[in-house]
Symmetry: C2
Subunit: 314 residues, 2 copies
Amino acid sequence: MGILVVGSVALDSIKTPFEARDDILGGSATYFSIAASYFTDVGMVAVIGEDFPQAYIDFFREKGIETTGLQRKPGKTFRWKGEYKADMNMRTTLDTQLNVFADFNPELSPAYRKQRYLFLGNIDPDLQYSVLEQMDNPEFVACDTMNIWIENNRESLLKTLKKIDLLVINDEEAWMLADCSNILPAAKKILAMGPKRLVIKRGEYGAVLFGPRTVFSVPSFPVENVVDPTGAGDSFAGGLVGYLANVAMDDEISMRKAVVYGSVMASFNISDFGAQRLGELTFTEIEKRYREFCKITLFEDFNKKDGYTFDLLP
Amino acid sequence: MGILVVGSVALDSIKTPFEARDDILGGSATYFSIAASYFTDVGMVAVIGEDFPQAYIDFFREKGIETTGLQRKPGKTFRWKGEYKADMNMRTTLDTQLNVFADFNPELSPAYRKQRYLFLGNIDPDLQYSVLEQMDNPEFVACDTMNIWIENNRESLLKTLKKIDLLVINDEEAWMLADCSNILPAAKKILAMGPKRLVIKRGEYGAVLFGPRTVFSVPSFPVENVVDPTGAGDSFAGGLVGYLANVAMDDEISMRKAVVYGSVMASFNISDFGAQRLGELTFTEIEKRYREFCKITLFEDFNKKDGYTFDLLP
């Protein structure tokens, strides 16, 4: 096992202008794990209810995802219901039922504590911190969060941020966390909170990676038919951390490639409902799209000796 | 002279959350010409009123811009007044006074008709077409437009689009022109209208170039202090067409580099009021930022033999 992920496993009901699906497999740990499974072994810590279909667990196992940390508890599985408007950029949450997720309190097995890579999916920062405390000195920790935690549990979040290698959040979350909506000063403020690196996800506009004196910007892959954007951010994180665990490096060029692999996984994910497309990929398809990312971004041979560092960030 | 530009020269009054300026040098032909002047010779066709300060004309000449096509007419100069809100992304037009610009009817001198590069700034498509008709078989024609022309003079615009090499518009204009807000299908629809290539400008999210079976996406340069976004689009076009005229090529790699030089010029332009910063650049600064664009976008050595073409566009 290479990566441990802690997050939600859910049953989602999704409505788009074109179609609707009920009770499909969702949740941050789900999307992350499936995306990461193409790059390395993944173990999942999450909670499900009595109603969670065995077929979905079988599917995780088919993808090689280790599910001993997926606890089944009395009650119903976490449910989320959302709707996308015409341009797929705005989504409305219609209903959230925490169910068994309300009492989620992840306890890691001895084997899980020894994992080298950890992804803290979007859950209460207190739980994220508790997981971090249980780990036995991991090599690389990445973390996601969201508006409600930034607003309501900022202190715990800040405590966690001091101990992580990478924060992966979207632009609105970044503006809220930094209290600033210009990306460069916002990134500086967030890096000053502790994480070694920061990725700001910008949906159809791509993603930007900030590190010590480096900025790396990658566009999203232009997708002809966006069917369902749910899980794009977690697929992105799964591809990103999955690639890093695979190469076992965290230098600047590996981080950049990882961000591109994250963008690759997100671009596949949005082209069908739920994790449908994400779950049926081949590594050949992933590599092909990675090369296409080269094709849509390259404009110059660049002398590597000059490096990537420059004076944009202090 | 390398490029002929037809467009507006204006006196702008600009208000931002931090500062306001009155009657500063503005207009599409102004920003375009200054940006392009770093790369090649530029001749300007525009109209000004009796109130237009001689100092601004002297400034054009200092930048090596040929102003025999800048006609002074009885009356006042075109005036635009606008305001930017806190995040600098939304602007409101407070007042537009066409003045002498209302009767603008560009007639080209014999020397102007022979120019090899032409930029049709954002003016009535009928005037753009009339300029195009006067030209003596130019090598490369780029064109801008805006919402009012797309809505109110679509037929003339479509006639012009059939005859140009490059359309440079922003995302809102692209959605309006294509009646579609997903960038890939929108680009396909617009390319089918005639232009050989299309650039969609996305402000702080960069720009995307579409050509025959190619897509190239470049982020914007992260600017710490955005002072005044006015003229960013025309500076972008000036850098782009200026570079192309300089290298006298329009192959895919030159087009891509040109889009990056356009992004370079726009990034400088927004860091001060009006064309202040744009007007005082050195080529060393421009080249330095171009290399920084390499640094913020590179993630992989890429085998050039594979080329840039792939199956994303038909």
